[in-house]
């Protein structure tokens, strides 16, 4: 198995994510420069957090034109593997139209960095299958533009297809509609989440719930052909 962590100018969680995959989980991982388009050799592609291109204009608005993001379209179409966007990566995926909806400025208009509680809304997915349904987990957030919004019909579809994976529990820190924190696409191979699993992947930093997210993806990839990933 081989994983890629994409590096855009301005990515700042690339090394953190690489560390979890490569050093903690022992997955052969490459830091992949944003100009690279040959991504088919990777079973897992992570778009990490940060401020790609400084988030100028809008978070992810410029990064979506990066060659590597353009290449993701085909990667996803042929169900080659799993794509996970974390924080800025999630923003890029929505900007690129690879995930529905949009991430807008936090309702407080301020950046928020804190650990939040999340509720597992669907545990029958490659990202969440190591959690119980309804389980409350802890993960850090750190974002200024994490308020998820989508048109009513999109929300309806997300709910009907059980594409909403995690919701904020208790406090909704950024004003997301329906407290949405993580979603997947209809193929069940593209995932986006605002919380940072790589920041809670060791006992030093709390429950280690974040590690379970990466472990879940890896186990899923190890046990099934990518084309059978559709689990809902």
């Amino acid at each position: 198995m081989r994983a890629a962590v994409v590096v855009f100018p301005g990515s700042n969680c690339d090394h953190d994510t690489y560390y979890v995959l490569n050093d903690l989980l022992g997955i052969e991982t490459d830091l992949v420069w944003y100009r690279q388009t040959d991504v088919d050799r990777y079973d897992l592609i992570v778009l990490p957090g940060g401020f790609a291109y400084g988030d100028y204009l809008r978070a992810g608005a410029i990064a979506r034109f990066a060659p590597v993001v353009q290449a993701l379209g085909e990667y996803i179409a042929k169900q080659r593997g799993i794509v996970l966007g974390i924080c800025n990566g999630f923003q890029i995926l929505t900007e690129a139209g690879l995930l529905p909806g949009a991430l807008t400025k936090n309702i407080s208009q301020r950046f928020i960095c804190k650990t939040v509680q999340l509720r597992v809304e669907n545990n029958a997915t490659p990202l969440t299958h190591l959690f119980e349904y309804g389980q409350i987990i802890n993960l850090p957030i750190a974002h200024g533009e994490g308020r998820y919004i989508a048109p009513a019909e999109t929300l309806e579809r997300l709910k009907r297809n059980r594409q909403i994976l995690l919701t904020y529990h208790g406090e909704n820190p950024n004003g997301s509609v329906d407290a949405i924190a993580a979603i997947m696409d209809e193929t069940g191979t593209v995932f986006g989440m605002m919380p940072h699993p790589e920041r809670n992947s060791e006992r030093l930093f709390g429950s280690g719930d974040g590690l379970k997210i990466f472990q879940a993806l890896i186990r899923e990839l190890a046990s099934s052909e990518p084309s059978n990933l559709r689990t809902f």
């Binding site: 100018p9 301005g10 700042n12 969680c13 090394h15 953190d16 560390y19 979890v20 050093d23 957090g49 940060g50 401020f51 291109y53 400084g54 988030d55 100028y56 301020r110 950046f111 928020i112 960095c113 804190k114 850090p140 750190a142 200024g144 940072h196 790589e198 920041r199 992947s201 060791e202 030093l204 930093f205």
Partner: protein
């Protein structure tokens, strides 16, 4: 407009033997500014101890470096951006963050933590929110966690807010770089952003009082671009691996007028640059403007001749500019050429360090600053309910200086890089792990100006002791100090006296702990027509946590744990927050610190932490003993039954030095006593951890109520946010 004194101009004429050109005058103005030359402070800074067996790099470079363990070293420094932040809080603070990051980068270190010490007036909502937003904007984007610092609100900072930023970087011993130019014919590269008109004369602006016209100098404030900074960090760390890199330096105050000259001075060589090779952001800039620009996100590299393309390729990959702008020459001059014509040529020795030292003499203030404390040690609870200890405690916790800064630090990314084991808000110091290692690094920064206003010598001692206490509280052994000395106009003999006294106090304390000052910064001219700031030394410190699993928490850990006060059991309470809040009195007599007690206390606390005996520890500082106890409750939610020997205001809320509140597990009382008595340190039993309220002498207050008070402290200031 050049801000040079008559005496300085005479010196230039004499040493050059001719009239300087306009461009040369600009060079002198920047290099000889207070900000760059330390001409008023140099002779006092010499009093600070700088040597130590762990010191790899002391003062004189862009940052100090100390060895930690297993070849790992930390580079750290603090710098001020007070003047720019006062006129343009957002960009002023943001570029302050950017500047200190590049200083750390210049040492070949990856920046791993930021800390900010901020001072505002009590009503400075706009400055406060602007500065916080600026720090968040820059620090978050650049991907360095902001893990600590402190904030005070005090009238003295109304016209001159203080924005001091500390950056800590991690490197292996073999990766250490210097800001040096060497080897005749080697190339000088300018990398990073293009050069524009922003920040021209920034350093001279920082070397004047903030009055009238000066306050309107908004165009002197630079504008930062954290995205470019992030790319600059990554690209620079990449080229730091190239053996052809001779030295590198950040372009900060003075831009190209100072940095190449400083590199040449260190290398004992000269440098010639060609103005037309410098990539510009805007057209038709004059050579004078180009040289004096303080455009951000730029660095100068000295690289082996012939290797320049290798360097340029890396910067281009990251979307940055990189251009060969000159070369190292044998003649020890800074030569600036424009289209083949020499437009400035100044001996390096004259430009860097040639400024005549300012020889004004310090003189103590005519009015004695310390006055007796108005507190009579009367018992509490008599008379109005306002004076019951729970009500007094609540009110203190609600003051912006003591209360929670959550609103601030939640806007800072403090968990990026996944090393933050103890972050902001709940401990005396932050603790970072080093991936793959057992040890950790503790960092802290702060300083109490009110103590220095009352007694600068004692205040200086306390500033260092407070840093030591903060580190020791989490179980870290202090390794080294960086400082930023914020003062008013140094031509005022009384200001200079306070400056000298503060340094003497700091030096005395550092010697007692055998701690070196490895880097630092001085910010003068923090005054307006109306007021001067308090003499405010900010002390940044780095400590060594031998085993990160043995770090000590601040909050009460478990029900039944025994609470002790360790250290000095009584003292005067001058300068306390209590006196200010309840008596509107910012003076008083300070209890002098006994450095022998301090040393013994440090040893005892470290021994206790090392043996895993401390369930929790917290140093007693602003707000005094009861506030320290309340903070331990707030941190964990656990209450305590307290049995204090005396319920006077002085005992409960006085601020005298050399004290910790610690807890040990039941059964470990004797072990604690053995260590503490063995070290000759006094101690006292305070009570038992448990329940959900703080109880004492028949009165109590719920921890939840303490939390509410504590968390509402900034409401008065931010509620007015538009």
């Amino acid at each position: 407009m050049h801000g040079l004194s008559e005496k300085e101009y005479e010196t230039i004429l004499k040493r050059l033997g001719r009239q300087p050109t306009e461009v040369e005058l600009g060079l002198f103005a920047l290099n000889w500014s207070e900000h760059c030359s330390y001409k008023s402070s140099k002779r006092f800074l010499k009093l600070l101890p700088t040597a130590g067996k762990r010191v790899l790099q002391g003062p004189g470079e862009n940052a100090g470096v100390v060895e930690v363990a297993n070849d790992w070293c930390v580079a750290f420094k603090v710098e001020s951006h007070n003047h720019p932040s006062a006129v343009e809080p957002f960009h002023g603070a943001a570029t302050g963050v950017g500047g200190i990051i590049r200083d750390i980068l210049s040492m070949g270190a990856r920046p791993i933590a930021l800390l900010d010490s901020l001072r505002f007036g009590e009503q400075s909502r706009q400055l406060f929110t602007g500065v916080v937003a600026g720090i968040a904007h820059y620090g978050n984007c650049v991907g360095i966690p902001t893990v600590g610092g402190d904030i005070y609100f005090e009238e003295a900072y109304t016209d001159n807010c203080l924005v001091n930023v500390m950056c800590v970087g991690l490197l292996k011993r073999s990766e250490l770089k210097r800001a040096i130019a060497q080897g005749v014919g080697n190339r000088i590269l300018l990398v990073g952003a293009r050069t524009g008109r922003d920040g021209i004369h920034g350093a001279t602006f920082a070397s004047e009082d903030l009055i009238g016209e000066t306050a309107k100098k908004r165009p002197n404030v630079q504008v930062g671009d954290p995205f470019t900074a992030k790319s600059l960090i990554e690209a620079t760390l990449e080229v730091c691996q190239f053996p052809e890199l001779i030295g590198l330096q950040d372009l900060g105050a003075g831009g190209l007028s100072t940095a190449p000259a400083e590199m040449a001075a260190r290398g004992g060589v000269g440098i010639a640059i060609d103005i037309e090779e410098i990539p510009l952001r805007e057209e038709s800039m004059t050579p004078y403007e180009i040289l004096l620009s303080e455009s951000q996100e730029r660095m100068v590299l000295c690289v082996k001749s012939g290797s320049e393309q290798k360097f340029i390729r890396v910067y281009r990959k990251w979307g940055l500019e990189a251009a060969v702008i000159g070369e190292v020459i044998a003649e020890r001059v800074y030569r600036v050429r424009h289209e083949g014509r020499t437009i400035a040529e100044v001996p390096i020795e004259l430009l860097v360090g040639g400024v005549p030292e300012v020889d004004s003499f310090p003189s103590p203030p005519s009015l004695a600053l310390s006055r007796p404390n108005p507190l009579a040690p009367f018992p509490l609870g008599e008379g109005s309910g306002e004076r019951s200890w729970p009500a007094s405690l609540k009110k203190l916790l609600q003051t912006p200086t003591i209360g929670s800064k959550r609103w601030v630090w939640e806007q800072y990314d403090h968990t990026v890089q996944t090393n933050t084991v103890i972050g902001p808000g709940s401990h005396d110091a932050a603790v970072l792990r080093v991936k793959g290692e057992r040890f950790g690094i503790a960092v802290t920064m702060g300083g109490n100006g009110r103590y220095c206003q009352i007694d600068p010598y004692e205040g200086g001692i306390r500033a260092v002791c407070e840093g030591v206490h903060n580190l020791v509280s989490v179980g870290a052994e202090p390794l080294g100090i960086t400082d930023c000395l914020n003062f008013a106009n140094p031509t005022d003999p009384e200001v200079l006296w306070a400056f000298e006294q503060t340094i003497k106090g700091m030096a005395e304390a550092a010697r007692a702990f055998e701690l070196p000052f490895v880097s630092g910064n001085v910010s003068f001219y923090n005054q307006s027509e109306q007021r001067k700031i308090y003499p405010t030394p900010m002390v940044g410190m780095v400590g060594f946590v031998r085993d990160i699993e043995k770090r000590v928490p601040m909050g009460f850990a478990r029900e039944g744990d025994r609470i002790y006060l360790v250290g000095k059991l009584e003292g005067k309470s001058g300068g306390s927050e209590y006196l200010k809040v309840f008596y509107n009195f910012g003076g008083g007599e300070l209890e002098p610190t006994d450095l022998a007690v301090e040393r013994a206390l440090l040893q005892a606390m470290l021994a206790l932490a090392e043996r895993g005996l401390l369930r929790s520890a917290h140093d007693v500082s602003e707000g005094g003993l009861l506030v320290a106890l309340a903070e331990k409750s707030i941190a964990s939610g656990l209450g305590a039954q307290l049995e204090l020997w005396d319920l006077s205001e002085e005992t409960l809320f006085g601020e005298w030095p050399s004290r910790f509140v610690v807890t040990v597990a039941p059964g470990n009382e004797d072990a604690l006593k053995e260590f503490v008595e063995g070290a000759g340190v006094p101690y006292r039993w305070l009570g038992v951890v448990g329940g959900d309220s703080l109880e004492m002498s028949g009165e109590k207050i719920a921890v939840q109520e303490l939390v509410r008070a504590y968390e509402s402290a900034l409401r008065g200031i931010i509620a007015r946010e538009p």
